[in-house]
Symmetry: C2
DNA sequence: CGATTGAGTGAACAAGTGTTCACTATAGTG
DNA sequence: CACTATAGTGAACACTTGTTCACTCAATCG
């Protein structure tokens, strides 16, 4: 169970109410509602709806706030979307950081990386769902932001591989290209993971196995790679 | 310039009007408006909007038809979406069929395949735009339909490679897995192609080159592939 | 030929939308 | 302490939305 899923829907921010004290410095409270708006959007998407089908009023309703309050935080749903992209970027970077800290498992490293990733996606499903839905569907600016975040992620991944002296023979450009392929494959796998039917352990196994094989294929290719003339 | 882009927006289907005769058997006319609805949806997405942000009324307006008429053809925007998915499937299969008829270019076959694909995507940009936007963003049923179409495409591609005796050493299962990776890479490249900034020939060159390298990497991996124990 | 069918119409509906505005009441300020 | 700045309110606005319904009128059929 992820730490950021509250489960219960935010409601009743009674101004003078005895319950749920506003409690906290002015700007802290402001940031809190801001996050509640972001959370509201993620919650609404959690039933499978795409980001671009959300309405401003829905979001504020889910966040337990009056529509006009929205404008104190974002001028637009688009702007909220961009904030979500940033949050997704943070989530991705955390994944990389954890992988770095943990080091490579000695054997079966591909398979175990995949399992770790699978769990990570499930734990942060709301972010990945958003990313998947806005990657192709959102407004141009959001799409661009996501693309940016992905290439940034790929770049960091390439750096890590360079630092770890994996594939030392390959020039940096090749590493980048390989990692960008890995990243798009990961993103694609993420949507597969999210859409897994609930009880089907067999389907999950197959999907995982396929993902492992695709990565293995890529790294086999990397081993055989010869920089183009 | 693609054959199906009319350019001018459909308007004024005056019943008794002298212009634009309804001309034709009853059911032919019905099918014509049906296609006009599909076209209208594609047109609206052509400015970068996602499918899930379209409204029924917008679509009928663009098609030059009263909202109520929509229901004579689809019960839902979702159903229209599914029809679009089918159209996309046809478009993809046509690509494969053309490739089959043309045979493999003797040398540089990867690069020239990529160039052909790039032009194909541009020629049918409306379909690819829709596919990209609904792949992750649409309703669950549409997503599933697209996924289906993709795996069908991958399957046909694998069959073709088997028939052509490319990679004869590989078992069919491995071929399928490889092709599915190729297909997702192609789809991803399609969104890159669609979002290319207009004048930037340099960016286009880079993007193309990257695409070629990724495919080369995959096929290098395929050559080295050893079926898992 | 006259009768039937059904694709497309136009008006109406209840509900939902984004945005604005004057407002309240409270945390932070001097 | 009184004063100001501002996060959030609630009502109002002008639209747009999906769906329904009785309707028209031309292609089709007996």
């Amino acid at each position: 169970m992820s730490a950021e899923t509250t489960g219960e829907t935010a409601r009743k921010r009674s101004r003078s109410g005895s319950t749920s004290t506003p409690s906290g410095s002015r700007s802290a409270q402001k940031q809190r509602t801001r996050e509640e708006l972001l959370n509201a959007a993620l919650n609404l998407m959690d039933t499978g709806r795409g980001f671009s089908s959300l309405s401003l009023r829905e979001v504020t309703r889910e966040a337990g706030v009056v529509p006009a309050a929205f404008y104190r935080h974002f001028s637009d749903l688009d702007e909220l979307g961009l904030a979500l992209v940033e949050a997704c970027g943070l989530t991705l970077r955390r994944l990389l950081r954890e992988a770095r800290r943990q080091g490579l498992p000695p054997t079966q490293m591909l398979r175990s990386s995949v399992l770790i990733y699978k769990n990570y996606v499930k734990a942060h499903h709301r972010y990945f769902r958003f990313a998947a839905s806005a990657r192709g569907g959102g407004s141009p600016s959001i799409r661009k932001a996501i693309r940016n975040e992905e290439s940034h992620f790929a770049h960091e991944m390439a750096q890590d591989m360079r630092n770890l002296d994996l594939m030392p023979r390959l020039p940096m450009a090749a590493l980048e290209m390989i990692c960008s392929l890995v990243v798009t494959t990961m993103m694609n796998a993420a949507t597969d993971i999210l859409d897994l039917p609930e009880g089907q352990r067999q389907a999950e196994k197959e999907m995982t196995e396929n993902f492992v094989m695709q990565l293995r294929l890529i790294f086999l290719g990397a081993r055989a790679w010869r920089p183009p003339a």
